[in-house]
């Protein structure tokens, strides 16, 4: 009897011990796997949304790399459980909440204690607070959140909350990463009541957002976290962004060259590049004669990239005293006195420089105004591809003007060309991806080129070797837009040297090398002409 009893007790005891040990190990393993899976799913979501060219839910196509909001704290147990808050109408995004697993396209992910994972984002920079929040996300956007005591270290944190804790009975005060935080009691009956309260699941800096930590300090915190950095986000979405550059930006550029520049200025050209400088501070204004650098997409608003000068007013009938011209706000104004006693007809001329270094629309006769009732005639705005400038000439006829009347003629600055507000371009320019895309135009595509880039083998074209046959010829390119990628090898960024960004091209040449992205090469080209070939051998020309 005694022996049987002893054997039974021993067997049960050993079993219980083994079970407890396995549970602890097993829970840690499950938690680690859950965090890894969640990070992979979140980055994959960013790939999907970065590739979007349309989105009826919340215009996610406008900001590649935009992080989803956490699930609303009010949504557990409802039909909206698992959905990112920003994918629902009229949202206000919270900085911390449960991971929006359903929107990531995966089943609910739980940690080793069966708790759904949590997730924290920086609002206003990488995630929207409301649908009206304006974001500018590009490779230059910094990390925002404090992680393991380092400020601006990460852009998102996924948190495994672990079992509920009650540290109110623990001796001493919270220490380690929990130093300065209050003791908590999460073992309450209302823990899962909605709206959820983060502090009922997360401890210390994880609950307040003050300092997310990889592993909480026992016994004060049992959170486990995994972080996502800006570099990881950019690496994840680079391919999708490059795809959009090829499918959206490149056709828009080609349309400018073939159609818009011709309609606007009477000549087909791609604007000169802005001389390469450190991307974040480049003025994005093309420099005459520069065929490679940064794409000159600076907006006309607040920019002097194209500027009027050389203004003059001369008398055709009657007499006047020309006083001069000067820039006033976004206008160029010329002044003169009427020095005669009869009718006055004048000719106003001026030159706007650097038309070949920006995407600008011409002004019309009606946009040239004066303050003395003169009427316009013989308006012309003539672009010279050789000088890159455009010369305005307009005649102004006045009735009887008072002797020594001061007349002011106002010529507005050139406005943006339509392509800068083209929906194919706005994500690219609005997020400043343009700063991180190296722009090269073919000798035959610049303004005033002696001969055009006319097809395969033409030395006036660029060459991108390594492009698949399905994408057409490799040596007929009018421009190449290269997404430069993060630093690889010995490169150091940010930098004013293009060699710290480009691997596919040597400055001063007309050739590029397209290759598979590796640890030593991460350039991605968008170019024209470019086509894709489907399985039935039909082709779709993305740009001609």
């Amino acid at each position: 009897m005694v022996m049987v009893f002893i054997i039974g007790v021993t067997w049960y005891g050993l079993g219980a011990l083994g079970k407890a040990a396995m549970q602890g190990y097993e829970r840690d393993r499950v938690t680690a796997a859950a965090l890894k899976q969640a990070k992979e799913a979140l980055l994959a979501y960013l790939v999907t949304t970065a590739a979007m060219t349309t989105d009826t839910v919340d215009s996610r196509q406008a900001n590649p790399g935009r992080l989803p909001c956490p699930e609303s704290l009010s949504h557990p147990g409802t039909v909206n459980e698992g959905k990112a808050a920003d994918l629902l109408p009229g949202y206000t995004c919270g900085a911390v909440g449960r991971l929006p697993w359903k929107s990531l396209g995966v089943d609910q992910i739980r940690d080793g204690y069966g708790e759904p994972l949590w997730y924290a984002v920086p609002l206003g920079t990488w995630a929207k607070t409301t649908t009206a929040t304006a974001l500018t996300i590009n490779p230059g956007l910094a990390n925002q959140m404090t992680y393991d005591g380092t400020a601006s270290a990460v852009v998102a944190v996924i948190i495994a909350p672990g079992a509920g804790l009650n540290t109110t009975g623990e001796p001493g005060t919270p220490s380690g990463t929990c130093s300065g935080f209050a003791k908590v009691n999460q073992l309450i009956s209302t823990r899962n009541a909605v709206p959820l309260i983060a502090a009922n699941f997360l401890e210390c800096g994880d609950a307040t957002g003050a300092n997310y930590t990889t592993i909480g300090t026992s016994p004060w915190s049992n959170d486990r976290t995994i972080s996502i950095t800006a570099a990881e986000v950019m690496d994840a979405i680079a391919g999708a962004v490059a795809d959009r550059m090829q499918r959206q930006v490149a056709p828009a550029l080609e349309e400018w060259r073939s159609t818009q520049s011709l309609a606007n200025w009477g000549a087909s050209f791609l604007p000169y590049a802005s001389t390469f400088t450190q991307p974040a501070s480049n003025d994005l204004c093309g420099n005459s004669g520069v065929v490679e650098g940064t794409i000159p997409v600076v907006s006309a608003v607040g920019s002097t990239c194209t500027a009027w000068g050389g203004g003059n007013v001369s008398g055709l009938l009657g007499s006047l005293l020309f006083l001069g011209c000067a820039q006033s706000g976004s206008n160029y104004q010329c002044f003169f006195f009427n020095t005669g006693f009869g009718a006055l007809t004048t000719r106003v001329t001026a030159t706007v420089s650097n038309v070949s270094g920006a995407f600008r629309a011409p002004i019309t006769s009606a946009s040239v105004t004066n303050d003395s009732g003169g009427t316009n005639s013989n308006f012309s705005l003539t672009f010279s591809p050789v000088t890159g400038s455009a010369t305005l000439s307009v005649d102004l006829s006045f009735g009887l003007l008072g002797f020594l009347s001061l007349v002011t003629v106002t010529i507005p600055d050139l406005g943006n060309a339509a392509m800068l507000s083209d929906s194919r371009m706005t994500w690219f320019t609005g997020n400043d991806w343009s700063r991180y895309a190296y722009y090269t135009i073919a000798p035959g595509a610049k303004a005033g080129a002696a001969s055009a880039c006319s097809g395969s083998g033409d030395p006036d074209c660029l060459t991108v070797s390594g492009l698949p046959v399905a994408n057409g010829n490799t040596d007929d390119k009018r421009f190449v837009l290269t997404l430069m990628g993060r630093a690889v090898g010995s490169q150091a960024q940010p930098s004013a040297s293009v060699t710290d960004y480009l691997e596919s091209h040597a400055q001063g040449t007309t050739s590029f090398t397209s290759s598979v992205v590796t640890s030593a090469y991460n350039d991605r080209q968008a170019t024209c002409p470019f086509k894709v070939t489907f399985t039935d051998s039909t082709t779709s020309v993305l740009c001609n």
Binding site: V4, A41, T48, A51, M52, V79, L104, G105, V532, T535
Partner: protein
């Protein structure tokens, strides 16, 4: 006078108590062993499903497309072979174990779960949201996948929490997806211990996964005690972003 020494041995009462204890111990052990075996089978099946996903993505990296599902009555190879045309059975087929080099397989070459039932595989056959013109099949055709690009999202496979009406459960019913629409590139699943074919032992949600259409169910396991009925399938859902991300990293896309 010397007392007679008592006889050695157990009384009937003692024997009964001992036997009762042993019976209890063995009974408990058997129940525990059954539970452990079931848990082990589920974990092993999940492991095989994850291995199948890895093998499918590995195949896609090498062949620049996903394979089509295998159909019944064959040998565990994709149908049709080569991926030139649309899959024979995109939603109701099996894991093409031979095509992707997955093991273990049954005698006919189909990948199996820990209960010996064939693993299932469904892949999206239609797409939406593509930038520019697009041609299907997308995911299973090398040229189209490359030409259509990564803006294309799957437009057919939907995984719901249940087939039950909302009156049965407000939080798990036929109107609630477990993953948002247009996010699922492919799924791999086991029909669970209760097997793959219609008959006794399967619930409505089990059967929904083998009816050949693009609507599937994935939820917690349950028995007849549940209002939702029996369900024991084990499923791994692969979002399109994960698929694209792997192929972009491998230089296959965009």
């Amino acid at each position: 006078m010397q007392l007679k020494r008592p006889l050695l041995g157990f009384t009937l009462t003692e024997m009964a108590v001992v036997l009762a204890i042993i019976t209890l111990l063995i009974g408990g052990a058997m129940a525990t062993l059954a539970s452990i075996a079931e848990q082990r089978d589920n974990e092993e099946t999940t492991r095989r499903l994850n291995a199948a996903v890895d093998a499918l993505i590995g195949y896609a990296v090498v062949n620049k497309r996903l394979p089509c599902p295998a159909v019944s009555g064959a040998t565990g190879v994709e149908a049709p072979a080569g991926g030139a045309t649309a899959c024979t059975n995109p939603y109701g087929g099996f894991l093409p174990a031979q095509t992707i080099g997955f093991t273990p397989v049954d005698s006919s070459g189909y990948g199996v779960d820990s209960w010996g039932n064939r693993l299932r595989y469904a892949v999206a056959a239609t797409v939406t949201g593509c930038s520019g013109s697009s041609t299907v099949p997308h995911f299973t055709n090398q040229a189209n996948l490359k030409a259509n690009g990564v803006s294309c999202k799957p437009n057919d496979i939907d995984v719901f929490c249940s087939t039950a009406a909302s009156g049965t459960s407000s939080t798990c019913n036929s109107g609630i997806r477990v993953a948002d629409q247009n996010t699922i590139a492919f799924i791999v699943f086991s029909t669970g211990k209760n097997g793959a074919v219609s008959g006794s032992g399967q619930g409505a949600d089990d059967l929904a996964n083998t009816d050949g259409n693009a609507n599937f169910v994935n939820r917690f396991r349950s028995t007849t005690d549940s209002a939702l009925g029996i369900y024991d399938d084990v499923m791994v859902i692969v979002p399109v972003g994960v698929f694209y991300q792997k192929l972009i990293a491998a230089g296959v896309l965009p």
